[in-house]
Symmetry: C2
Amino acid sequence: MIGTTAVAAEPRTPEWVADAIFYQIFPDRFARSLTVPKPSNLQPWGSTPTYHGYMGGDLVGVVERLDYLCDLGINAIYFTPIFQSASNHRYHTHDYEKVDPMLGGNEALRRLIDAAHGRGIRVVLDGVFNHASRGFFQFHDILENGADSAYLDWFEVRGFPLHAYSSDHPPNYAAWWNLPALPKFNIRTPAVREFLWETGRRWIEFGIDGWRLDVPNEIDDDSFWREFRRRIKAANPEAYIVGEVWHESQRWLQGDMWDAVMNYLFTRACIGFFIGQDVDRGELDRTVLSAARPLDAAAFSQEIRRMLGLYHPAVNLVMLNLLDSHDMARFVTLARGDTTALRLATVFQMTYVGAPSIFYGDEIGLSGGHDPLNRAAFPWDQARWDLPLFHHFQRLIALRHASPALRRGSFTTLLADAGILAYLRRHQDDTVLVAINTEDRPRAVNISARRQIPDEAELDEVWASNSLKAEAGVFRHVELPARSARIFRAQGLAPASAPPDWP
Amino acid sequence: MIGTTAVAAEPRTPEWVADAIFYQIFPDRFARSLTVPKPSNLQPWGSTPTYHGYMGGDLVGVVERLDYLCDLGINAIYFTPIFQSASNHRYHTHDYEKVDPMLGGNEALRRLIDAAHGRGIRVVLDGVFNHASRGFFQFHDILENGADSAYLDWFEVRGFPLHAYSSDHPPNYAAWWNLPALPKFNIRTPAVREFLWETGRRWIEFGIDGWRLDVPNEIDDDSFWREFRRRIKAANPEAYIVGEVWHESQRWLQGDMWDAVMNYLFTRACIGFFIGQDVDRGELDRTVLSAARPLDAAAFSQEIRRMLGLYHPAVNLVMLNLLDSHDMARFVTLARGDTTALRLATVFQMTYVGAPSIFYGDEIGLSGGHDPLNRAAFPWDQARWDLPLFHHFQRLIALRHASPALRRGSFTTLLADAGILAYLRRHQDDTVLVAINTEDRPRAVNISARRQIPDEAELDEVWASNSLKAEAGVFRHVELPARSARIFRAQGLAPASAPPDWP
């Protein structure tokens, strides 16, 4: 059962992910359809999020908002969990075979996938395979029957009766973070492995485009993940497998397990450079990223180089690059409301190597501290949106879609000086130069791209009528207003004569 | 939502039930297929049943034993619950949409229904609609989220946190018999009503032939049952709806709610007459039938008359007549092992008005006291069977199938004297006379059938070459060995000139 697979020399990752811009949806809070029957006791839409209350978003609501998502420009959705669960975040899975009834059930997912695919939007689900919930059938069987349960070996039980709902005793079974609500699967049991593999395969067959794996490093068993990959890719070779790991992940990204991870190293670096000293330390300390330190451009550039060096280029192209998520304060909140930090970070995210992922609402200025506040209901009243911010996202997304260099190009740092970062992306005849000034004052800088572009190359500024002309490979006196970025692009330039920083 | 339906003058009951002989299967204990994957911790097949242990019977096992059931002669199966449940009896429903995985899942039910229907065998499932289980999704949501649960109105909750797994507190929510494991549905909530009605309808659409309703009298709401009937009959007008009620049930059997009930009044009378003084009082006192008292033939006959008078004849034809079930000691055990009591009672059951129901294993002499002992694994080793008893069942079943009089005929008591009961069943040109001697000594009796049959009528003894000839309507000196029955039959007799006792 436990096979060994030779590590592929070149990891084969899904082509489409290099071209993807993800939108992360927390289903209870994105959109509600009036056509989906709802239970009676819901929090009002837009009220302050609580740990346990539901607001009643659903998948049909997402179908009804696909126009909005197309307008924004994204072409992939990552959903936090959608399976039947007695928690508003649905990480406590009650049934892996059913989409939660409050979300509209399996029929709603069918509609969503068909409608999304019809518009060229991929759908990735959250796979919570490390642990189940207290209501999950096989665990419930142990809870009800004790030592007579048929399913004793599905979990690691240390005594009876189970202390699953006890205020006096810690759980006497393996549980994630020792939380009694989250009994950990006993991954050594063949029936459990088979159940999880088949769950993975079944939904791929249903039509989803990949799995984001919740805390997959806690399933400390490479053979499990190799077989998981084998079954997923057998069902759909282009399915995306992306693990939630907050640190370096070479172990799993050699081509035999996952395709990529959620790039929280990227997040950490962006917090350090684009927010820097002004970060809300209290909020930051509540995340796994609390080690983030202010970075100047040189340190940020060095960290980029380090990150790009961790994985094979085919992996870097499909990393899931996020600025925030449901597991941390929103980026704009970490920046104490300074939207310029979010704007600059988004410029970087949309022009960097790997698939950008936007946490729903970031694009209209939704704020919120750590869980549960980061999970506010999407305000569909446009009067409450930061419309300029939305347009900023929109045009950066459009630019990325238009530019192969941004999606698949090489990456070379041209300038990293105090708060100024400039870099070049090149792919075939497409060239993009990005210059970012994170400082609170305007700067005028010389940016050398010598041997990366022809000495007399001319680039046009995007979204403006300016152009930038090199002199002996150097752009002189490029003006960068405070806390702003400029992007220049050319097509048809002669190839570089020096190798790029990456790949 | 709460409609009123006029009571039908003549209840419309399913035709096929009058011709049915049921076999009641407790799925964990009837038959195991090697083709259904099983969890690891099962009790050995045939070990002493426990409250919480599983033995691993399944529905494919039943498919594999259809030859046996056809050989026995039954043409309908009533299954105690089969939906996903963390209890070996499966009355604690975890999911109403899934057949338990240990039973083979929904696919196994599909196979079973198709195979059974292919042999003319109907399939009736157990509908447990009064209460769910602690693991049932909407209850679990309250358990996990307390006052923030979306589903608060699905149950009658009196405080938080729920005392669902507390050894110190009784349940602070409505529960069947105040058992914390069995939270009672709040039937006033529209979503709950709709859920239960649709559950009923969905499985009828799937192909089952009816519902046995668990403790349906505890859903004290006629409008609920009227709509339930409407939906079931809309899906299949011939579906059978039979309630588990241990007492008089006129309220529900007027044609607008159920078709029939499990006839425990019949059971009680049979215990009183066929077991009588020798009943195991300790076992009897553990049942709802503890009021059963020894009956002589006159009292038994009077009770029959009373029972037949309770309901419309169309209802009596489809009552579910059982001698025992999973909810009481087996009949032979109540009789302290005296199989003659079971044999005689079965003669009566197979020749009486209404559909006989055999609790699996009774036919081969399986014994067992009150729950859990009455739920032993079926011993498939024939060396352990009471084969003569099996043949007794077999020929009585065959006789009932052959005789319209036994299934649909009138009923007239001819003789009720001390331990002797004789009665006549007539339907069109089919006439059957049954004479039963429950006494421990042989008797020779005169049985008058005057005006019920022609004065000089001649009847042939079934399974023998004897015949019985009336003299002026009286059969003289009919010899009845101790603890035995004789059955006589004629075809083509002239109609009776006097009305029968029933209908």
